[in-house]
């Protein structure tokens, strides 16, 4: 799937949809696809492009969520500011994680990320005085753009679309630029890259920090959209794994991959739920079995994800022109 056309199609469809679709439920699905896709893309910066697989990215998501929620409910500060504060906090933690990434590889790093997200979960659940503990924070809804109190889902689509586009461009930058090549070198073989003079450590830390900041931004937007912050959800390992899932299933290390992955997963879940809802509620749990199996199969058959795999398939069609 070379070329910008798939991405152009995706973003164009997303941009045009609100003009045509009125159904709030479908729009909600689109908002979630874009939001999760963006979060997956943010994860992809660290996990896909820098090769630092984090299983605890919910830590950053939660920081963004709480920053906005606490600043908003305690001091009436606009969530846009909360967004910046959350991003700053996440960057700080991102640096910590980056530091760890230079001392740990592979599964060790993954375990460290899990530990970090769990520590934040526990602190958020216990620090009642500041975070309202496990009861979470209901985010006060004040209508207006400055307070991100938006009812119309069509507007939400555009708000998140902007962020999604930003993330797409950032990923594209990592694909095409010199920095991006250096990062790819670090990802493939860090020692070889180091020996070539690539500032591997700094690049990794930078990638993780940026990834963290952008994930936090997604967390803030999510908070304002859903209206309730629950520490056990927002810092959970399940959520972290979902972020990875979007990128891995869709295409790790490709700019459009996370969005495709998020679209597939969101559509699958929502339709299963709508279909089986109350009657076959037990059957609804099947989507989890599908994810697990899909992950196993994908790792075996198409470790780079769906998009690159489909792209490779398409390119293998018989070419009338002789190849060199």
């Amino acid at each position: 799937m070379r070329g910008p056309w798939p991405a152009v199609a995706f973003f164009a469809a997303a941009a045009l949809a609100p003009l045509v679709v009125r159904d709030a439920f479908l729009l909600d699905g689109l908002v979630l696809i874009l939001l999760w896709g963006t979060t997956g893309a943010a994860w992809n910066l660290a996990g896909g492009y820098a090769g630092q697989v984090s299983l605890g990215h919910a830590a950053f998501f939660g920081l963004g969520a709480y920053a906005a929620a606490i600043l908003g409910t305690r001091w009436g500060i606009s969530p846009w500011i909360g967004l910046l504060v959350g991003a700053a906090l996440a960057t700080a933690f991102g640096f910590i994680l980056g530091f760890l990434s230079n001392r740990l590889r592979g599964p060790y790093f993954g375990l460290a990320t899990i530990a970090l997200s769990q520590v934040l979960l526990i602190v958020a659940s216990r620090w009642r005085a500041f975070t309202s503990g496990s009861e979470g924070i209901p985010v006060s809804f004040r209508p207006g753009f400055w307070t991100l109190g938006i009812v119309d889902k069509r507007v939400w689509v555009y708000v998140i679309l902007v962020l999604a586009a930003v993330l797409y461009v950032v990923q594209l930058y990592l694909e095409r630029s010199r920095r991006g090549y250096q990062l790819a070198a670090v990802r493939e073989d860090e020692d070889a890259a180091l020996s070539l003079g690539v500032p591997a450590r700094r690049l990794k830390v930078a990638a993780i920090a940026v990834s963290a900041a952008l994930t936090a931004v997604c967390g803030t937007l999510w908070t304002q959209y859903v209206g309730f912050v629950d520490p056990l959800y927002v810092f959970s390992v399940d959520l972290s794994v979902r972020f990875c899932l979007f990128a891995i299933l869709g295409g790790i290390g490709t700019p459009l991959g996370p969005f495709v992955g998020a679209a597939l997963i969101t559509i699958l879940e929502t339709s299963l739920r709508a279909r089986f809802g109350g009657i076959g509620a037990g059957l609804v749990g099947i989507y989890l079995i599908i994810y697990g199996t899909a992950l196993i199969v994908t790792m075996r058959v198409a470790p780079q994800g769906l998009l690159p795999w489909v792209g490779a398939l398409l390119r293998r069609r018989p070419d009338p022109r002789p190849t060199g």
Binding site: R103, L104, A112, I114, C244, I248, G292, T293, M299, P303
Partner: protein
Amino acid sequence: MHAIPQLLASTLLLGGIYALIAVGLTLIFGVMRVVNFAHGEFLMLGMYLAFWSFTLLGLDPYVTLVLGLPVIFGGGWLSYRLVMQPVIHASHNVQIFTTVGLSIALQAIALVLWSADAQFVRTSYYAVVVRFGGVAMNLAQIAAFVVAVLFTTGLFAFMRWSYAGKIMRATAQDRHAASLMGIDTGRVFALTWAVGITCVGAAGVLLAPIYPVYPSIGLQFVLIAYVAVVLGGLGDMVGAVIASLVVAFVEVVGSYQIGTAWKEVLYLLLFIAILVIRPAGLFGQRGAEVIGT
């Protein structure tokens, strides 16, 4: 203080179980260089095995342990062939996500098949308490501890003196050299995985009389096992056992001194501290964590 003997007893009982779980995990890593993120789910499956044997066949969990061992081993072997073998030579990340996928799938299957309702194995002796020297201990927990010790000792003996054990240790040291020596690393991996799963599955059977059984019970035990395994040095079995006791100690004493609310934070911070200061763990080889192999 009169609490100390009891605290130590609790440490020992808990630590013994953690050790059995951790030992399997560290063995798999030591030989195969794979962190099994689905380890907790195999624990859960072991618990369900005990539950269903008890409910449908009337078998006591300790009987299930003996009779079920081949079943658990077979299940482990099968899961290796179906899931792990195709990716055994792939990159770390691929392997990590394969086990993550396995974890998701297994938990989801349990949820769909058996629902989220907690189940209980209520044996006739579940409430028997053994008391001496100011210490009270649940009989089932003591039994679990004893069996865990026997199991772990048996495993060490196997690794040390049996031919298969030697081959596994050789593969752990250097898989390429081992295969050059004519060792079929593929089969060693299958065996290692199956043995590791058997350990954790057995731990599950032992835990069934003590804890309620439900699909997501794996996580609370396995997170501690990860901490113990890293603390002891990934791949080091003795280290895993000692570290399990250390972690249990931190948990129990931390609960008592500081408050139960913070005990998870304690061992998680301990975990992060180890990763920062000495990632190879107490007994691991320095630098192993950077090479990652």
